[in-house]
């Protein structure tokens, strides 16, 4: 199977290097309008560099394309790729509006290609383990859940994140991981209540989901946390509680003495290494789904529903009211 990658920023480079290392997959092209990023990715993976998508579409042979562009471009390039008969693996969020997401899903259906969206938390082993505990009955009925995802503001290094029209803000871009995870684990959501404060290089949100089952979850997301990126989650049920905390599961910590040239502070880098990264597990799964025609662990419709939760949360934060789902009738 031949694959190309569109967008050679952080995630695009991750996708490209994973494809380059995959058996039975050939990475034929990497594309970025910033030629140096494409060249760099090409050098590391052996693929051909392109600075224009149209050019790559014309010249490179591929069946599948990974789209790792800024969120506001997902729709345009997904539809271009679908119309060219390419299966699409898009980074999350699927799109910034439900209308766009719906059009993307329809377009891929009409053109007979698959659409996958990178809700990678479904491939993080700590989150998979939590869902397993629930599915195996160890928690009884899920009752009250929490999820938290906090880190620095990506707009500090990439300006498009600062534009809500381009990134969707912290709920659509970051919290959507937990919204998807919670819906995956606890089922469909009945109402959404959101609280949000946005300032320069700060976007903080608290969102409460009431599920059709009666369960409730509160989700925290912070762009503007002055510390290491970290995630936490908990599901408390009638028979048990499961808790995950990225800070408490670092299996490796590298502590370094200060170098003489730098300010004299010790440096500790915590890590949680695995033989296969969640991104690798995700892309392997998507490629396998394309090969076998099987249903994905996370479907395009799941991505639509995750976006619906984020959009409802924004609507709630704006109006101050609890928002009932579904937002629009399909």
């Amino acid at each position: 199977m031949k694959v190309a990658v569109l967008g050679c920023g952080g995630l695009g480079r991750i996708h490209a290097s994973i494809y380059a290392g995959m058996r039975d997959v050939e990475l034929t092209g990497v594309c970025d309008i910033q030629q140096d990023l494409a060249d760099d990715a090409a050098r590391k993976t052996g693929a051909v560099a392109y600075s224009s998508f149209e050019e790559m579409l014309e010249q490179a042979e591929f069946d599948v394309i990974s789209i790792a562009l800024p969120s506001y471009l997902h729709k345009e390039y997904t539809m271009l790729a679908a119309k060219a008969g390419k299966h699409v693996i898009s980074e999350k969020p699927i799109a910034l509006t439900l209308e766009d997401a719906e059009q993307m899903i329809r377009c891929c259906e009409e053109n007979g290609v698959r659409l996958f969206v990178g809700h990678v938390v479904r491939f993080f082993p700590d989150y998979v383990n939590m869902k397993q505990a629930l599915d195996e009955g160890k928690l009884g009925r899920a009752c009250v859940a929490h999820a938290s995802r906090i880190g620095g503001h990506p707009g500090a290094t990439k300006a498009w994140y600062n534009e809500v029209e381009q990134s969707g803000g912290v709920m659509v871009d970051l919290m959507i991981h937990d919204l998807d995870f919670l819906r995956w684990s606890l089922g469909e959501v009945k109402t959404v209540y959101g609280l949000n404060r946005r300032e320069e290089l700060l976007d903080y949100a608290l969102v409460t989901l009431q599920f059709e089952s009666g369960a409730v979850a509160n989700v925290e997301a912070n762009w503007g946390f002055p510390g290491q990126f970290q995630t936490k989650a908990e599901i408390a049920g009638s028979e048990g509680i499961v808790m995950a905390n990225s800070l408490k599961s670092s299996s490796l910590q590298i502590h370094k003495a200060p170098s003489t040239s730098e300010a004299s502070t010790f440096v500790t880098v915590p890590e949680s290494p695995g033989f296969q990264s969640p991104y690798e597990l995700e892309l392997l799964h998507f490629i396998d789904c394309i090969r076998t025609g099987s249903e994905s662990i996370v479907t395009a419709r799941d991505a639509y529903k995750a976006l619906e939760l984020a959009v409802a949360a924004i609507e709630s934060a704006r109006t101050g009211q609890a928002i009932h789902l579904p937002l629009v009738q399909r």
Binding site: I150, V216, Q321
Partner: protein
């Protein structure tokens, strides 16, 4: 200076035992008697410390005590407080202060009218981490507060706590007030809007909610959320928690009030447990109550503070009925 004479009224709420121990440890205090309509709750204590016992709290109020500590079922807080005030006794009342706005206002008025002090038992203000966090906020270390996410979770208390005729409500009332008081204390602005969800989720066939998630908006624009659930089961290594993520424009303060613990793995317990070794917040709260009465200065946490927090929980029940935020 003569000793402060204190009577304790009802041990329905288990915190009474800790308050007794804290009072008993103070040389400037004499616990003279205990009133409890259920003698079995206190008979060991009465015997061990040779205290006077009264079945009817009014008999205790007839003695020459200066103050009372009330740990009755929630619904009796108002009646006992008002009776104590009428007889000129200062009051330390267990939280929640009351179960209706009107009854709490009557408690405050009765104490004012009779020139006695009313303090609400919010010991979480005496967690060292909470105090340091407040100082850090005041020093401007995280800029301006924009939000607080709190939790005050616990085990299922059973007994009168889950009988609405005696408790006035479940987990939402029981566990909103502690951290709500801290939020009020930190933010110093009035809550103007409340949105809550609560339901009996963990236990089956109970008459009150055991899960609660309450959201507040302050007049200053700060918002908060608080998990009040009785979500900790018997296998959990500790009773519950008091936590706050205080999010500011220039940083975040994380408070985990009972993080000062050792992990104990003893066959005697049948499970791993967390052994708290931090300072005893109850003792510091009791000391402050006693100091205020002896020096004639205002108690540090008032009846109004108790009303303010409990009223948020009561507004939460209104919001629950309407399914939307309510203004207060």
């Amino acid at each position: 200076m003569k000793k402060l004479k204190i009577g304790m009224i009802s041990f329905a709420h288990g915190h009474a035992f800790s308050y007794f121990n804290s009072l008993h440890a103070l040389p400037e205090v004499e616990v003279t008697g205990i009133a409890d309509s259920v003698p079995s709750r206190v008979e060991n204590l009465v015997r061990a410390h040779q205290l006077s016992y009264y079945e009817d709290y009014r008999q205790l109020l007839d003695t020459d005590i200066d103050a009372v500590v009330i740990c009755s079922e929630n619904v009796y807080h108002a009646e006992i407080t008002i009776e104590a005030a009428r007889r000129g006794k200062h009051v330390l009342c267990e939280k929640p202060l009351g179960i209706t706005k009107e009854s709490m206002e009557a408690m405050i008025a009765a104490c004012q009218d009779n020139n006695v002090q009313l303090m609400t038992a919010f010991p979480c203000r005496y967690l060292a981490a909470v105090i340091q966090a407040k100082k850090a906020v005041e020093r401007g270390e995280i800029g301006d507060i924009i939000a607080i996410k709190g939790t005050n979770r616990g085990g299922f208390p059973g007994g009168w706590f889950v009988d609405p005729k005696l408790s006035g409500g479940g987990a939402l009332l029981d566990h909103t007030v502690h951290v709500m008081d801290l939020m009020n204390w930190f933010i110093g602005s009035d809550v103007k809007e409340v949105y809550a969800y609560a339901a009996p989720l963990f236990q089956e066939n109970i008459a009150v909610e055991d899960a609660g998630m309450i959201h507040v908006k302050f007049a200053s624009g700060v918002f908060g959320v608080l998990d009040t659930s009785w979500s900790r089961n018997g296998t959990f290594p500790t009773w519950g928690d008091v936590t706050m993520e205080i999010v500011g424009t220039k940083g975040v303060i994380s408070v985990d009030g009972f993080a000062q613990k050792n992990e104990l793995y003893s066959k005697a317990n049948g499970k791993g447990t967390w052994e708290f070794w931090g300072d005893n917040m109850d003792a510091y709260m009791i000391q402050d109550f006693v100091d205020a009465l002896r020096s004639g200065t205002p108690v540090p946490i008032t009846g109004e503070d108790g009303l303010r927090s409990a009223y948020v929980a009561l507004a939460g029940y209104q919001s629950l009925q309407q399914g939307q935020p309510v203004q207060i």
